[in-house]
C-alpha cells in the first residue's frame, strides 16, 4: 500500500517536526518529547487546558493548540496513549499557576497514563483536574465493557473548556463546563474501509466492496456490526437515530451537530450526509444552532464518518461561539 512515509518508526516524530515547521509562531515542541505547547505559553493568569492521546487523529490533538482552546497536546505513537512521563512534562510546562485541566478520552491506556501523570504533577504542587470524554453511543456502558469511547465529541469539550479558561474561569469552573458538554454530547461512527497504520502497512481489517462497519471507533478497530453497503441517507439516518435516542433530545431543544470525516472521505460526501442529518433533526423539531462539517477527529486514512450531536444552552452557545485561533479551528 502506498503511503507518504520514510521510516515508519519515525512517523509521529516527523509529523510533529512538520507541524512546528508549519506554525513556528504558534507551536513549540518540548525538547526530547512528543509534546507540543503554545509558543506563547504558559499564559499568565489562565487555567491551562491540555489534551493528548495516540497519533493518527489529526488535526486532533495538536491542531487545536492556541488561543481559546488547548495549551498543550501530547502525541503518543499511532493509536497509542502517550507515556505518563511525557504527559507530566506537558502539565508542568503548561501550568501558569492557575491549575491544569486534562481532557482525556475514555480508553484504558489514556486514563491510566493521565492518572499517573496527574499524581506526578501534584507532587510538584500543581493543581490538576480531569474530565473523561465518553461520547460513543455504539458501545454500551456496562460492566461488560471498558465504558464508552471518547471520540469526536472531544472537540466540543476542547472548545468549551478552552473558551471558559480564556474567559478567566477557575479550574473548578472549567472542569464543570467540560462535564456539562460530556453530559450532553453523543457520537456514532461508521467506516467504508479500515485504515492503514504505518507500522503494519496494511489494512487493520478487511471489508468487502459491498460491506460497511457500523459503530467503529477512531483506531481502525472493527465496529459493533458489519452490514451491507448503505446509501448516504441510510447511513445518516442510522447514525443520527442512534445518537438522538441515546441523548433523548426533544423537540424545541437546540443542538450543535458535527458530521466528521474519518480521514479518507471527501468533504462533498460529508456534506451529503449533513444534508440528511439536518433534515432528520428538522423533522423532529430539533433546532440546529450550529452545524460543523469536516475532518476534526480522524482515524488515519479510514473512509467513513461520524455524527455528533450536542445539546446546548446559552452558556454552551457562548463558549462554543467564543473567539478561537488555532491551526485547525479559527473563528
Amino acid at each position: 500500500m502506498k503511503k507518504l512515509v520514510n521510516d515508519p518508526s519515525d512517523y509521529v516524530d516527523e509529523m510533529l517536526d512538520g507541524m512546528t515547521a508549519a506554525y513556528p509562531d504558534r507551536l513549540r515542541r518540548l525538547d526530547g518529547t512528543k509534546v507540543l505547547v503554545r509558543a506563547d505559553g504558559p499564559v499568565d493568569g489562565k487555567v491551562a487546558i491540555v489534551s493528548g492521546g495516540g497519533s493518527g487523529h489529526e488535526p486532533t490533538h495538536a491542531g487545536y493548540i492556541g488561543d481559546g482552546m488547548l495549551d498543550g497536546a501530547a502525541s503518543g505513537e499511532v493509536f497509542t496513549s502517550p507515556t505518563a512521563n511525557e504527559l507530566n512534562e506537558m502539565i508542568q510546562a503548561c501550568d501558569a499557576g492557575e491549575g491544569v485541566l486534562c481532557v482525556v478520552k475514555n480508553y484504558e491506556g489514556d486514563v491510566m497514563n493521565f492518572d499517573t501523570a496527574a499524581e506526578m504533577a501534584e507532587m510538584e504542587d500543581i493543581d490538576v483536574a480531569q474530565v473523561v470524554v465518553n461520547d460513543d453511543v455504539a458501545v454500551e456502558d456496562s460492566l461488560y465493557t471498558s465504558g464508552r469511547r471518547g471520540v469526536c465529541g472531544t472537540i466540543l469539550v476542547h472548545k468549551a473548556v478552552g473558551a471558559k479558561a480564556a474567559a478567566g474561569g477557575s479550574l473548578d469552573e472549567v472542569q464543570a463546563v467540560g462535564e456539562k458538554v460530556i453530559d450532553n454530547v453523543r457520537t456514532m461512527g461508521m467506516a467504508l474501509t479500515s485504515c492503514i497504520t504505518p507500522e503494519k502497512g496494511e489494512e487493520t481489517f478487511d471489508l468487502g466492496d459491498d460491506e460497511i462497519e457500523l459503530g467503529i471507533g477512531i483506531h481502525g478497530e472493527p465496529g459493533t456490526e458489519r452490514t451491507d453497503m448503505m446509501t448516504a441517507d441510510e447511513v445518516a439516518e442510522h447514525l443520527t437515530e442512534n445518537v438522538l435516542s441515546d441523548l433523548e433530545v426533544e423537540a424545541g431543544e437546540e443542538v450543535v451537530t458535527i458530521v466528521n470525516g474519518m480521514g479518507g472521505t471527501p468533504l462533498s460526501e460529508l456534506f451529503i450526509v449533513n444534508r440528511k442529518v439536518q433534515e432528520l433533526l428538522d423533522d423532529r423539531g430539533i433546532e440546529t444552532w450550529d452545524a460543523w462539517v469536516g475532518d476534526y477527529m480522524t482515524s488515519l486514512d479510514m473512509m467513513g464518518c461520524s455524527v455528533t450531536v450536542c445539546r446546548v444552552d446559552d452558556e454552551l452557545k457562548d463558549l462554543l461561539d467564543a473567539d478561537v485561533d488555532t491551526p485547525a479551528l479559527k473563528d
Binding site: 518508526s9 495516540g54 503518543g76 505513537e77 499511532v78 493509536f79 497509542t80 496513549s81 502517550p82 507515556t83 505518563a84 512521563n85 511525557e86 480508553y107 484504558e108 491506556g109 491510566m112 497514563n113 499517573t116 455504539a138 458501545v139 454500551e140 460492566l143 461488560y144 465493557t145 471498558s146 469511547r149 497504520t197 507500522e199 503494519k200 487493520t204 481489517f205 471507533g217 483506531h219 481502525g220 478497530e221 472493527p222 465496529g223 459493533t224
Partner: protein, 236 residues
C-alpha cells in the same frame, strides 16, 4: 538460587531472550490485536523491550531488584498505551519483592504482587479476556507447586507456563469485558487475547533461560500431570 552475580547474569539473559522473542513475534501480536484491537501490540511491546535491551550494560552493576525495576521504568517511559502502565508499572512495583534476591519465596511474592498490580491498574478480573487470564492460573500454579507440592522452583515454573498456555486458550471462546476488545462486544468471541499471548511468550522465555541457569532438571512428567482438565470458570 545461586549468588547475586549468577542471578544477575541469568536475569540479563532472560531479558535478552524475552526481547528477542517479542521482536520475532511482533507481527503475531499485532495480527492478534488487529482482529480485536488497534493493531499495535506487537510494535508497542517491541519498542519497550528494544529500549530495555539498550540498557543492558547498566544492568551489570545492579541488584536483581533494581534490574527488574529499571526494566519496568523503561517500559513505562517508552511504551505508552495501556501496555506501558500494565507491563512496566507492575514490574516496577513488584520489583520490591526481590530486594533480598531471587529465591523460591521471593519469586512467589513477586509473581503475586505483579498479578495484583495488573488487576488493580487494569481494573480487570479473571475471565475478561485479558492478560489476567494467563497470569492468574500461572501464579496460582507456581505458588501451589512450591508451597503445597514441594516441587523445585524450576519444575513449578514449567507448570506455571503450562497453566498460562491454557489461560491463553481460555481467552479465545470468551467475550472481552476489558480493553479495546470489549468495544466489539460479542464479536470479540473466537479471538485470542494479544496481552495474554505476550504474557505467555515472556514466561516461556523466562523458563527457557531458567532451564539453562538452574541446576536440576524439570520433571516433565509432573508438569504434564499437574494441571487438572477443568474449565477455568468452573474451578472458581
Amino acid at each position: 538460587m545461586a549468588d547475586e552475580s549468577v542471578q544477575r547474569e541469568a536475569l540479563i539473559a532472560a531479558i535478552e531472550n524475552v526481547a528477542a522473542r517479542i521482536e520475532a513475534e511482533k507481527s503475531t501480536l499485532t495480527d492478534l490485536d488487529s482482529a480485536i484491537g488497534d493493531a499495535d501490540h506487537g510494535n508497542n511491546m517491541h519498542r519497550g523491550f528494544e529500549a530495555v535491551v539498550e540498557k543492558v550494560d547498566e544492568f551489570e552493576e545492579m541488584s536483581p531488584a533494581d534490574i527488574v525495576k529499571t526494566v519496568g521504568t523503561t517500559i513505562i517511559g517508552n511504551v505508552g498505551g495501556a501496555s506501558g502502565p500494565l507491563y512496566g508499572g507492575s514490574l516496577m512495583s513488584a520489583s520490591q519483592e526481590l530486594e533480598d534476591g531471587i529465591t523460591a519465596e521471593t519469586s512467589i511474592a513477586f509473581a503475586e504482587a505483579y498479578l495484583e498490580k495488573v488487576k488493580d491498574r487494569g481494573d480487570a478480573h479473571l475471565g475478561a479476556k485479558t492478560m489476567v487470564d494467563a497470569l492468574t492460573p500461572a501464579v496460582h500454579t507456581y505458588k501451589k507447586s512450591i508451597e503445597h507440592d514441594d516441587l523445585p522452583p524450576l519444575t513449578a515454573f514449567a507448570k506455571a507456563v503450562d497453566a498460562a498456555e491454557r489461560g491463553v486458550e481460555f481467552t479465545v471462546p470468551i467475550r472481552a469485558a476489558k480493553g479495546r476488545a470489549s468495544f466489539l462486544g460479542w464479536r470479540s468471541v473466537g479471538h485470542q487475547d494479544p496481552g495474554a499471548t505476550s504474557t505467555l511468550f515472556i514466561m516461556q522465555e523466562i523458563l527457557k533461560t531458567a532451564e539453562e541457569y538452574l541446576d536440576g532438571e524439570t520433571d516433565a512428567e509432573a508438569v504434564a500431570e499437574s494441571v487438572p482438565d477443568e474449565d477455568p470458570e468452573e474451578a472458581k
